[in-house]
Every structure is written in C-alpha cells, then in structure tokens.
Subunit: 580 residues, 2 copies
C-alpha cells in the first residue's frame, strides 16, 4: 500500500460497477477518478475523490482528460474505443486490461477463435457474415441455433435464438444492425444443465486466482440470481475454475484485472466456456459479502499493480438476487424493504433513477452456513421479485441444495428399520438423501458413493447393515466424513453380530456405532453433528431433549395418580410401547 500519495485509478464508465469499486478503494488507499456521461453526478462520480470527467466513453479527448493525474486507466464496461485506449497506451498511460485484450474480447467471434486456439473447451460456433452462412450453419448444427452480434452484446441484447428458417432474415438483420454490431456469428445449441460462472483475477506479475464457481441463473438472457458455491458436483466446480483460469491466462500479459467467465455445464459433465467479460461482473457481486476481499477490491489491486487478495469464501453459502427496475420506484424498492429486515442479508443500491423496467437498480446478497440454510431467505427474495425456482422457457432453474446427511442401507429389507432416522431428520428439517448401497452386491456403487460424499456437500453418513455388516466400515474407509453405523437386529444372533461387525473397527477408521436397531438414535446423532456448528439446530436439539424429560415426567405423574398396579394394567391393554 502507498498511503503518502495514493495511486489514482481512472475508470472508464461511472455506473454501478465503478461505484462499487469507488466505495472499496479508500480502504486500501486508492483514489478513484471516472469518466461518465453524467460526470460527477454519476453513481461512481459521487464517490471519486480524484474528480470526474463528463463525456462519452468512446471520445478520445475525454479519455485523455480522464488520464490526467491518473496512474492507471481501467474500465467498468468493455464497449469502449480500442483505438482510443491504444492512443492512451502510446502516450505511456498504463491501460489495464490492455487495448489488445479489450479488442480480442469485444468481438465475440475473435474471442471464441482465440480460446479454441488455446485449447479451451467451447461449444461449436461459426462466423456468419451473411444470411446464406446462417443457413449453412443450420445445416451443420441444426435448429435451434444461437445467433449473436459479434460486438456490443449486453444483458441479452445482441442475442437471438433461431428456431425456424422462416425467421432467418428478420433475426439476422436485427443482429446485423446495418453493420453496427460488427457482424453476426452463430453458436451450435448447447444442451446445458446449468450455467456456471467464475471470477478470475490476474495481476501485473501474471498471478492468476479464481473465486469459487457459482450457478448463474438467467431469465430471458438477464442474470437474475447467483448461488455460490455452484450447486453441482465438486469436481465440476473445480473443473470450471480450472477452465476459467486457463482461459484468462491464455489472454497474455495485457490481461490484468478481474474477468467474469461464463460457462456451461453439460449433461455429460463437460464444462464449456461461453463468454468472458473483462471487468467486475454481476456473477461476482456475492463476493462483497461472502469473501474477505471482493471482486471489486481484487480488480483494483490488480490494475494498481498490487498483490492479489484472498478469493475463498468466508461463509458456507451465499446468493445474490438482482433488483430490476419495475417501471416505478416504489414497486422496485419493495424487495429492498423486505431485505432490510432479513437476517444475514445486505442491500446494495446503485443510486440510479428512473427505475426503468428491467434496469439493474441494485442487488441483495444473502449468506448462510450451508446451502440448505440459505433456502429460506433465498425463497423470500425470489418471491419478492416474482421468480420461481423452476426454470422454463425463459431460462434456467435454481438447482436444489445438496443434502447434508446421506442415509444408506445394504438392502431394502433394512428400510423399515432405517426409516426412523429419516423421520428424525424430517423433524429437525435437515435435508437428506436415501439410497440402497450394498458393500457386497454393489461394491463399485459403494465406492463412488463414499468417495464423492464430501464433494457433494454431505456432512455425515448414516449406514445401516446387519449380520456380517461391512457397509458402515467400508464407507468410513472411503470418506473423510463421520459415518454413523446402525447394527440391524438379526434373527440368528439378535444383532450382536451386526454390532461387533460395525463397532470393532481397526485403528484409523472409526464408525460411530449406535444401539442395535436404533436408527432413531443414528438420526439424532446426525442432528447433533450437523448442529455442532449451527446454533439454530442446536437449540432445537435442546428443546427435543426437554421434550423427552416432559414425556417421562408426564408418565411419572400419571403413575402417581393412578398407582402402579392400575398403570400396569393400562400398559398391558395398549399395544407394547418401547420405553423412552
């Protein structure tokens, strides 16, 4: 940090992205100056101690004015003039990311070609300078086909889905826009399961760091919700981060700053790069409240030539919901007013007016200890902005959170005994999954289940087995998670065989064994484990234990009233009750 003469960062564009940089810059001793049509009154200009310039983002003289007194120039939007950036560079002004990086990214067809050349996995694509070429592409890729402007696309503008050849002229001309769009290209339809995104930051020294992969939920091609970490397998998340880091590394030396990398997760588990944005990105807003160093701070650090900051999450799960203009301000603000009263929720208002329909006016971040605990608050916000969890014609679904507890058994004959564990988890409102996994009959399934359990977000596993009961111990040897073993009662040895098989594990691999046939206690133990870091769950457990006491006290009272003989008579009349 340099505090005696804080470096001045010039931002091209003074909208919300610039503003959010400006509100973080002072903490690390950086000064902001910005260029915007609204100058000092722009969302960012209001917080720019380095002053602001009023003017168009593509005007070369305004850029030169911005650069006066700046140590480095960056941008909050990629739709800038590359020649004007290059002119600044030729004057010796550092521009980060560089004009070359912006040139490459601005033209999405050139971007795709670059990434293809560098071995980054992509969907199929083809340049379509004419309607005839689009028709050719339909023959190769089939319908539907994604048509895109090569340049100037943003929040769904510049994209069109071609579903029938009858529309080809209309859609082409729309995107071609008399040549202003830089031409048209197409992408073969990707039948993706989810859209993912990764923020990647690259320093002047070439260091590359990625934030966790997130699920980006688009509706009508506009980002509406982001869930972090992404609700897919851990291996898919790690692969997405690797692809994203490789993509940004391939951009070379001039690619300095933060980049939003949008990706597809296909049904077969492949990760395909979709698009890259050379700036802080809507899918990275969650980092403001989920990470110690946000995407805005890391962008500033990178362009200022400073060391990059930590990109890990400080919370178990987070979500971001965009607040879009509803036409009038008071309708738009309803979700904010709701969010202001919610737990673990932070409101980010951009200070823009008017609240035009669909305009990005702000966003709301929510955090939680785990995905399943996030659901309550997320659902409230989705309701308030009129979004459903299910996807549809207009865009993707919000994937369900991964369960916290896995309940498995060697055979369906164990299900009646194991079901009381599930009932307990239901009572405590803890998400779980149930499956039949046999150590002896489906050893491969057992191995993949156990090995992937912690990667899928499970926090503990309950395994029931009887006789030569190998399932709990085998699973315990393949997972780092706590495994709870339920010895199923057997007809030959009353379950003592099961108990010894499960409990007497060798040194190194523990199984938390409960009483013979007592799956209810296995459920309760899972609740205690999950609750050991969650005050809400722990409080419910205390209540539950108070309840047990009350049941016994109630029985004692009744016995006292009616005498033990009469009480016994009544007990014998009832069907046998297993004691507390």
């Amino acid at each position: 940090m340099n505090a005696t003469s804080p470096p001045v960062i010039g931002i091209i564009g003074g909208g919300q992205l610039g503003r959010m940089m400006a509100l973080e810059a002072p903490r690390i001793s950086l000064n902001i100056r910005c260029l915007d049509a609204n100058g000092a009154k722009s969302p960012c200009g209001l917080f720019s101690p380095g002053g602001s310039v009023e003017g168009g983002l593509k005007e070369e003289d305004k850029l030169r004015e911005l650069a006066k007194g700046c140590d480095v120039i960056t941008m909050e939007i990629e739709h800038v003039s590359v020649p004007a950036l290059a002119a600044l560079e030729s004057l010796g002004v550092p521009v980060r990311p560089s004009s070359n990086t912006i040139r490459l990214i601005q033209d999405k067809y050139v971007q795709k070609s670059h990434f293809e050349k560098h071995g980054i996995p992509l969907g199929r694509y083809m340049d379509c300078p004419t309607v005839e070429k689009v028709k050719e592409a339909v023959e190769v890729f089939g319908l539907p086909l994604m048509l895109k402007s090569r340049k100037e696309g943003y929040d769904g503008r510049g994209n069109a889905v071609l579903r029938s050849l009858a529309d080809v002229d209309e859609k082409f001309n729309l995107l071609y826009n008399g040549g202003k769009s830089g031409g048209v290209y197409c992408e073969g339809w990707v039948d993706f399961v989810d859209e993912l995104a990764v923020m990647v930051v690259k320093s002047t020294k070439g260091e590359v760091k990625s934030y966790p992969t997130v699920t980006a939920i688009q509706r009508s091609s506009v980002c509406r919700v982001v869930v972090a970490p992404a609700r897919c397998s851990r291996s898919a998340r790690l692969l997405a981060e690797e692809v994203a880091r490789n993509a940004i590394s391939s951009l070379g030396e001039g690619a300095v700053g933060i980049f939003g990398v949008e990706l597809f997760l296909t049904k077969s588990g492949d990760i395909l790069l979709n698009e890259v944005a050379p700036r802080p990105h809507n899918t990275g807003h969650y980092t403001q409240d989920a990470c110690a160093v946000s995407q805005f701070e890391n962008h500033l650090r990178a362009v200022a030539g400073m060391e990059l900051g930590d990109t890990d999450m400080c919370v178990g799960a987070a979500a971001m919901v965009n607040v879009l203009g509803e036409g009038d301000m008071s309708s738009t603000l309803k979700v904010n007013d709701l969010a202001m009263g919610m737990e673990r929720t932070t409101v980010h208002w951009y200070g823009k007016a008017p609240a035009k329909k669909g305009r990005k006016m702000g966003h709301i971040n929510v955090t939680a200890d785990s995905e399943s605990e996030l659901q309550g608050n997320l659902k409230k916000l989705l309701d308030a902005v009129g979004l459903t969890e299910e996807g549809g014609k207009d865009g993707g679904r919000i994937p369900k959170p991964e369960p916290l507890v896995g309940v498995i058994m060697g055979s369906d004959s164990d299900l009646p005994a194991m079901t009381s564990a599930c009932k307990i988890l239901d009572t405590f409102n803890i998400a779980y999954e149930v499956d039949i996994v046999s150590a002896h009959r489906t050893p491969e399934k057992m191995m993949s289940y156990a090995r992937s359990a912690h990667q899928r977000g499970l926090q503990c596993i309950i395994a029931g087995a009887g006789g030569a009961a190998h399932l709990p111990g085998m699973v315990a040897s393949l997972t780092p998670l706590p495994v709870i073993g339920v010895p199923i009662k057997t007809s030959t040895l009353s379950g003592v065989d099961s108990l010894y098989s499960i409990c007497q594990m060798p040194r190194g691999i523990p199984v938390a064994t409960v009483a013979i046939g007592n799956a209810e206690n296995a459920g309760l133990l899972a609740v205690r484990i999950v609750g050991s870091t969650r005050e809400g769950v722990m409080e419910k457990m205390i209540e539950y234990q108070e309840g047990l006491k009350e049941v016994v006290e109630g029985k004692s009272e009744r016995m006292g009233e009616m005498g033990s003989k009469e009480y016994l008579k009544q007990m014998e009349n009832k069907s046998s009750t297993v004691g507390v």
Copy 2:
C-alpha cells in the same frame, strides 16, 4: 428505503468514523454531509455527496450551515457543543442522539449517576471536585484509585491511576486542567478479568438491538485488539448484552443511534458497566466483516428513522487489530502490507496523514470459522504490531480460544487408554481440553460439565469409561453435542460390559460408540465431526487416510520382497504391533 429523494444525514466530525459511515450510506440510499476542520478534504468529506462544511465542531454557525439541506444531524464524536445541538433542535432539526443524551454522556460522573439510578451494575465512584475529596476517596476505596476527568476524555487521555498519595496534587491538577475538563471524579479499582464491550443500537421507534459481546484488549488505555465473540462463558456474554441493552434503554427517547458500551467482567463473574460512547465505536469495527449489517449501517438506519438490521455474526469468530501510527508512514504500513496477503483478512485504511505515533490510522479485520482457527492469523497480526498475547502492566491479556473438543474419563486409570485420542487431536491441530469427570463419584461436576459444554464452544465430547460405563450416556443426556463413547477394556469381561453399557442407549439419546479400547478412533471421529464443516480439517483427514493406505502398501511391498516367513520372523522380534 427512499430512493427518489435520498435523505441527507449530517455528521458532526469528518474523521474515520464518519468516513466509514459515508462508505456504507450509498448502499441503502442515504446521502452524507459533514462538518470538519478539513471540510471536503477530511477522511469523510471526500465521500460526502451532500457536501461538507469546513469549521470547528463546536461552532454554532457552522452547525447551522451543516444542517442546511440535512434531514437529520448525528455525530462521530461526543465532544461537541450541547448548547449548539440544543439550538439546532429548537430550530426543528432532528439531532440523533439528542442534545440531552449527549449532555448526560459527556459528563462521565453524571453518566454514572444516571446508570446507578436505573439499576445498571457499576463499580464504586465518587465526585472529586477538590484534592481533599480525592484523599477522602482514597480512605473509602483504597489505592490504587482511578482518577478521571468528567469531560473530554478519549483514548486514555483524561484518565490517571493514583497509586500513591504523594502524587495526588500532580494527578488531580493534570486531570482538572484548570477546570477545562469539567472537573474530576474517581472510580474504585475494579479487579477485572477482562474488558468486554457491546454495541447497542436504538431506533426512533424505541427498538433496541445488541451485537455480540466482544473482548476488548486495551494497552495503555488504548483499544488495540478486539476478539468476537468475547472469550468468556456464554452466560457472561449474554449477561453483558443484557446490561448493555438495559443501559441504552435507560437513556430514554432521545438516545437514537448506535452506542459503544464498555464493561468489566470481574473474577466473580459479575458484569459492571464502565463507560458509554454515543456513536460507532472501535470495539464495533469487526462488524464490518463479521456481520451482514455493520455498526455503521445500523447507526445510519437508526438516525434516518429506518428499521434496524440484523446484528448477528455471519462467521464463527472475528478479530480486529488497530493500526496505530508509528511516526513514519512506511513503518506504519508494514502490518497493512502483511494483511493484504493474508486469508480471510480485510484492510481498512482511514486516509489520514501524517502517521503520528499512536494515532489511529486504520484497522484490520480477520474472520474464521471458529476461535481456534482464528489464532494463526491473529498471531501474525499481533506480531506485526508488536503485541503479545499476555497482558501486563500496560493492559489486558488476549484470552485463549475455547477448545473445540472435550476429552473426559471416569478415572485417571483410563488416562493411558484415552491419551491416544489426545495425540490424534494434536496431530490435526484441534484445540481440546482433558478432564476427569466421573458419573458415579462426581455427579454434580458431570452435570455442570455436560450442561455448559456447548455454551463454552465445545463441538463434541469424547468420553471414556469401563465396566458399568455410564459416563458417555449420562453426558449425552445432558448436552446437545455429539458424544463419542470409548468402551475401556476391562479385566473381567474384556470390555464387552463397557461396550454394551455405552452403545445400547435408549431411543432419544445417542452415543457414538467406537471399538473397545480404541480411543485413537474416538479422536479420529472427533476430527471428522469438526472437519465436516471445515475444508482444511477435511483435507488433512483425506491425507491421513492416504497415509494409512501407504503404510499397508509399504508392508505389502516388504512382505513381497522378503517373503512371508522372514517377515513373520521380523515381526516376532519386534515388540507386538497392533495392525492397522
């Protein structure tokens, strides 16, 4: 929220507290205007879209100028002119907190008298208008005696410890300051264990909310480090929060905004109120990175007449370390540069110059999933600012973090068997405590141990017992935490008695039972439970399991090389090795 015409908040004072308000205000659509000797160039003035006024904080005409266009006036410092505030109020300008609240708080003797009248627990105190009165106080309270100016005290200024009657004239005159200090009063010496603090916020509607209690570590009467939540018992934390809320409630209707409440925790477990500051406070800075709504946002919400926000922590533990001026800027910045590269660490620089010795220049916030995981980063920062964990003459210690695992046993004869659990916890670097707690011989100790375990921050308990082994099950019935039972091997029944006693628990109260005599597995199970929400611990467990595999593979290789007969011979030569 009102976004069409954002309310303007006028802040008296434009230092770091105002600045941190100003950097949060835009998110919730509030505009800041400030009054400071450095006006627009003050730390806060740089980020005040409502403009700023250059002038003294006590000048009535400057206050009137500040109030122009403001919807409400608040302050970042209590050393303001009460008559000037009252004059504003008489013009119809809302002042929050009100002039009456500030009058009461400014004079610490009046503050004490008020709280005493309202039943808030305090140490002993006495007005000392003359040296003779101080001598009288020494007779009543003894030495040492804390002398304080009634007004204008701040960061240790206005305080003096009287250790000998020989110094009485000198110390009195110092604090009396020719009458400018509002006079002198004294406080009887409080032999406290720790200094605690609670941020309390009160809305215009009278709603009162508190943030969690923190430990405030002072050195030479200056706050240096804050640890959240406070490292004392949960009951002491809750009591401190209650005392703090009651104190602020007692201030009445005009007390709107956030208040820093400083408290003492005495050896006997009592909570005594020390002082109240009517503004954001150094002990609340951790809320910026540990809570969804910080003390600054909640202060703004309160004074703007908005609903209060969530005051709970989003992380398991947090700490704040102040960055004090070292005389020159580059020495001062060393800790910042270190912090910029640390995990889960956020730097807050105030933009002040020069870096005068002892001046508050910035602070650093660190968060973690638990107290013990906080230690590594906290230690690095303490080293960097030259602080030790132990207290001394100049101030308080930094309490040790509470352990995560409790290891208990019914008798010291179980210790040899249980010690391998401790070794495992050492290997995985998980903080634990060890104690002898017998269900049969110390039933009261067992009850209090088990009942308080979750309140003290334990996350699981390992209990070893043999024969009629009641300890694990009894503890499990008294705690909501997961309890791991180790059946100790017995001479009569080889531990089968212990196994049945521990494992065969009735429905409702589970004990996670491991193999007979296998405390190592109990330790490993505790690690798995602690690791189920902590990626770092989980990764170490995966490594450990890989290690087990390698050990066996190594043995297999050696046996292949030398043949099984020779291998057996070597085994017999060695002292018996219990197999993996």
